[in-house]
């Protein structure tokens, strides 16, 4: 066995001038992927073609409008399109501007002081900018921490004697999404690393004589099946929104799911074309929501309502209120409203609060019911 297996090139040897080489393997349009293809890659199933699962789709769109919400956890039955939805989200996200050549995808409008590439650029001149797709980075099970956090680029160290940092998945996910399927099966030491970075927005690397910190702000998206095991409470708490998905129970939706799935299987490009218009509309909604977000007002009354609701449910800390209000604002922006109203609060309350309830040991399954009951108590039926 030698290293000549197709696609198995251990490290980036793009020969860039930059001291830091940004990996492209995780980028949706990365060159490495196309080189690595053995079986043909299929386009991701379109987001808009997912039948039902409105709460999940809404939560993902809210996270796309306002990344500060703090991530989405999708928990539920097998075969409900959890990972399909997340993977298809990538196609909906508008491109973002980055400083050309910056390995950490800094925003040209506000290059970070902590970025070694951008702080070395000549002052007073606007950095050259480039449009790239928003990254949706997969964190596969079995990942080792050198690839998550980044490590010394050993190829370059050996060949050129340069001490170059090879960024990991955390750097690749900066300003985008980091997706963990089967999040409840993730190794403990990776969870620890992830929690630390998610809390500070910064990845600190100390290895092989490299001492460096770089920004790593991303929307954490996790999915899993509760039957496979529970999530550590600390990690649970990192997710802004938590949605439960279940297989549709009514025949009509089930038939629709099967028919669309079949159409996609038989002719993926044709199916994509058929849904292109709908996808464009969804993308437009997200874009408009983003633009509108800063001008959506948040009346004091609504904040009070949110606080009352959280008190009624006895959620720990203030994170519940904060997420609830932010999610409601993002939803208002998506809906085209300029003011957050009770209806928005109600729509997102279950997603924002169900994982923050103090657990009654035998009551886990009915967290949603408790939120709904509190909603009725606070707002009336």
């Amino acid at each position: 066995m030698d290293g000549a297996v197709a696609g198995f090139r251990p490290a980036n040897r793009s020969g860039q001038e930059a001291q830091l080489s940004r990996r492209t393997a995780q980028r949706p349009s990365g060159e490495k992927i196309s080189k690595a293809v053995a079986s043909p890659m299929r386009p991701a199933y379109p987001f808009s073609a997912i039948v039902g699962q409105d709460e999940m789709k809404r939560a993902l769109m809210i996270a796309a409008v306002d990344p500060s919400i703090g991530g989405v956890l999708v928990f539920g039955d097998r075969g409900t399109g959890k990972s399909t939805a997340v993977r298809s989200l990538a196609a909906l996200l508008p491109e973002m501007a980055v400083v050309a050549g910056c390995p950490f995808a800094c925003d040209p409008a506000a290059p970070l002081a902590s970025c070694s590439h951008c702080s070395a650029l000549p002052k007073g001149r606007k950095p050259e900018k480039r449009m790239v797709p928003v990254p949706v980075v997969d964190l596969p099970l079995g990942t080792t921490e050198d690839r998550l956090a980044g490590a010394l680029d050993i190829e370059r160290a050996l060949a050129q004697g340069v001490k170059a940092f090879e960024p990991g998945l955390l750097a690749a996910a900066h300003r985008g999404f980091l997706y963990i399927d089967e999040v409840n099966l993730l190794e403990d030491h990776l969870v620890d690393l992830l929690l630390d970075v998610a809390a500070s927005g910064e990845n600190v690397v100390e290895r092989e004589g490299i001492s460096l910190r770089h920004p790593a702000r991303f929307v954490l998206i996790g999915s899993g099946n509760p039957e496979e095991g529970e999530l550590r409470p600390q990690l649970l708490d990192r997710f802004g929104l938590s949605v439960e998905v279940s297989t549709p129970k009514d025949l009509a939706s089930r038939v629709e799911v099967v028919c669309r799935r079949d159409a996609y299987d038989r002719d993926a490009p044709g199916f994509m074309k058929q849904w292109a218009k709908e996808e464009a509309r969804t993308r437009e909604t997200i874009l408009a929501g983003r633009k509108r977000l800063s001008s959506v007002t948040l009346p004091l009354g609504t904040i009070e309502q949110a606080a009352t609701l959280c008190m009624a449910l006895g959620t720990d800390g203030l994170r519940g209120e904060l997420t609830l209000v932010r999610a409601a604002r993002a939803l208002a922006a998506l809906d085209g409203d300029l003011e957050v109203r009770t209806v928005h609060l109600r729509s997102v309350a279950a997603s924002a609060l169900r994982h923050r309830l103090r657990r009654n040991p035998l009551d886990e399954t009915v967290a949603t019911t408790r939120v709904e009951k509190a909603l009725e108590d606070v707002f009336g039926a």
Partner: protein
């Protein structure tokens, strides 16, 4: 039901004949559409016949496609790919090595002893199956590579609680109960590879009747199959069957076959008989199975046909198996993912891989893993520190330690009904039995805890402890009297069991009650509400998969206590005339085999 049966007599007879060779059918269908149908679970003992089936499948697949066995305890490096240690050492730079999953691209992987495969391995395989992409980020290698393979899971489990987890079996189209005797009877007529190839070319052109998806979905609902993968697989199966028969359109025959092969083995309930069931003369049935598309409207609905076909081959003893399925789910929930039960340990037990950690005394160094991490850096480090004489440069961040899994300490939680009714009956004897058990626990170095429930709620008398003396004292002081808040007692027992599981212990609950629940969780009176709450709590408890034993202390065995025990998933032991010594013997037995049900 009778209408369905009489109507499909002819169809059924031919179906029976076909079921005889179901296994060879499956092999052919799988060979036609390995990507869409993914694979099969073969349940049955290791047997030459099974190997023959595998060989037959292999012969139907294109020559030279990868065919890889995945050993049970395969390491991530071998499964997903990683650093090639030997090559990296000799080259002085990291050399990557493809993993087994990448090697299997375009072919099949075989999972022997699939009923024992851990959820971590299943999840890695499932991720590739779901997305069609193998994603790796490990040991300096990052890549995403389109990868497709089929999976044959060899389920060698005996008994109903030893089965392939649903996380895997749900993703594979077929399940074959492998009965070597049945296979011997039927002379499998296998199509040739050429025929399969022709069918494969036809596959995507095969049209499906417009109402077929609806028929599969409705039948799946009626059979209580929650997963939507079932109707999707059924559709693909019907299409492959049509392609194999050389048809360009799925017929009723294909639909019926798909219902038998895909839906029936997944059924969780026997469908209710339809409300109105017009008798159909056999001629019409005959006609309809040969009918053309334009006549479809006048035919007996495809839905009924599909359902009848599935029903005709429902596994025997389906209803009896349902309880088992629920128990299995609970067991799986308990066995996987959560901490506890099986504990990760630093020193003892079965090795389960290595992880990075700062090395301190008491940890076991994983030497090979450590060397593997350090290997690619040797040249670089030598260059960095040329005067360092070390033969191998190992740094702190290279250190990997071994992790072990061990059976954990047991915590026996006594949940004692100290209500007035129980006190009347046999609280004293219960106390005596518990004391005997305490002695056993002491010998095994188990922890014990005592929770009593009486009056308005439950009270923890003793947190888990090794101290026999304290346990005795708390029991001796236990007063009797008041109502029976059974639901509150179960909740308190669960909370403690869950807490001890989080600490890595294995909890066993021993509940002693006469089952006369009459106090609700809110502390109010009312037998009906109290009983239904107790049952409700018991059902939720069962989902946790915690081993439990319910000892009925009433003078005569109570039906309600029995129901409660089965709702809890607990072993039920009525002890109307038993003495303390016999009680102790029973508990000991239960504690030794906590996972087995009643």
């Amino acid at each position: 039901m009778s209408g369905l049966a009489s109507r499909s007599v002819d169809a059924k007879r031919s179906e029976d004949a076909r079921m005889e060779s179901a296994a060879s059918q499956v092999a052919a269908l799988l060979a036609i559409d390995p990507v869409g149908l993914v694979g099969a679970v073969l349940r049955g003992p290791a047997d030459p016949k099974r190997d023959e089936w595998l060989e037959a499948l292999r012969k139907l697949l294109p020559a030279g496609v990868p065919w890889r066995r995945v050993p049970l305890g395969i390491a991530d490096g071998r499964l997903l790919g990683g650093l090639d240690l030997a090559a990296s050492l000799s080259a002085g730079r990291p050399i990557a090595q493809a993993g087994l999953l990448a090697e299997a691209d375009g072919g099949m992987i075989i999972l022997p002893m699939a009923e024992r495969v851990e959820s971590q391995l299943i999840a890695r395989i499932a991720a590739v199956l779901d997305s069609g992409v193998l994603r790796i980020a490990r040991e300096g290698i990052s890549m995403a590579r389109a990868t497709r393979f089929g999976v044959i899971a060899l389920d060698e489990g005996v008994g109903d609680d030893e089965q392939v987890t649903e996380a895997l079996s749900d993703r594979l189209a077929f399940r074959i109960e492998f009965d070597p005797a049945a296979l011997q009877r039927a002379a499998p007529v296998m199509p040739t590879r050429v025929e399969i190839e022709a069918a494969r070319r036809r596959l995507m052109q095969v049209r499906i009747p417009a109402d077929l998806p609806q028929a599969f979905c409705a039948a799946a609902l009626a059979l209580g199959i929650p997963s939507l993968r079932a109707p999707v697989f059924a559709l693909r199966c019907a299409r492959a069957a049509a392609a194999l028969a050389g048809r360009m359109e799925v017929t009723h025959e294909d639909a019926a076959l798909a219902a038998q092969l895909i839906l029936a083995p997944r059924a969780r309930q026997v469908p209710e008989a339809p409300a109105e069931e017009p008798e159909q003369p056999p001629e019409q049935q005959q006609e309809s199975s040969n009918a053309e598309t334009q006549q479809r409207e006048e035919q007996p609905s495809l839905e009924d046909l599909v359902l009848a076909a599935a029903q005709a081959s429902l596994p025997a003893g389906l209803l009896a198996g349902l309880g088992v399925a629920a128990r299995q789910m609970a067991r799986q929930a308990a066995a996987s993912g959560r901490s506890g039960m099986m504990r990760r340990s630093a020193q003892r037990g079965r090795p389960i891989g290595a992880r990075p950690a700062a090395w301190r005394a008491g940890l076991r160094l994983a030497l090979v893993e450590t060397l593997r991490v350090a290997a690619p850096w040797q040249e670089y480090r030598r260059r960095e520190k040329p005067h360092h004489a070390a033969l191998v440069h190992i740094r702190r961040e290279d250190v990997r330690i071994r992790r072990y899994k061990q059976n954990s300490e047991t915590t026996t939680i006594f949940l004692v009904d100290a209500s007035g009714s129980a006190a009347l009956h046999r609280l004293a004897e219960a106390k005596g039995a518990v004391e005997l058990l305490l002695a056993d626990c002491y010998v095994r170095r188990d922890r014990v805890a005592v929770i009593a429930f009486r009056g308005r709620g439950a009270e923890v008398l003793l947190e888990p402890t090794h101290s026999l003396v304290r346990a005795k004292r708390s029991l001796a002081a236990l007063p009797g009297g008041g109502g029976t808040p059974l639901a509150a007692g179960i909740v308190a027992g669960y909370a403690m069991a869950e807490a001890s599981r989080k600490r890595g212990q294995t909890p066993v609950i021993v509940a002693l009650t006469d089952g006369r629940a009459n106090v609700t969780r809110d502390g109010l009176g009312g037998r009906a509400v109290a009983e239904s709450e107790a049952l409700e709590s018991a059902r939720l408890f069962r989902a946790s998969g915690i081993a439990a034993l319910l000892i009925d202390t009433a003078p005569r065995p109570q039906p309600f206590s029995r129901d409660l025990a089965s709702a809890m998933g607990a072993r039920y032991v009525p002890l109307p005339f038993a003495d303390a010594a016999r009680m102790s013997a029973t508990v000991r037995q239960a504690a030794r085999a906590p996972a087995s049900g009643p």
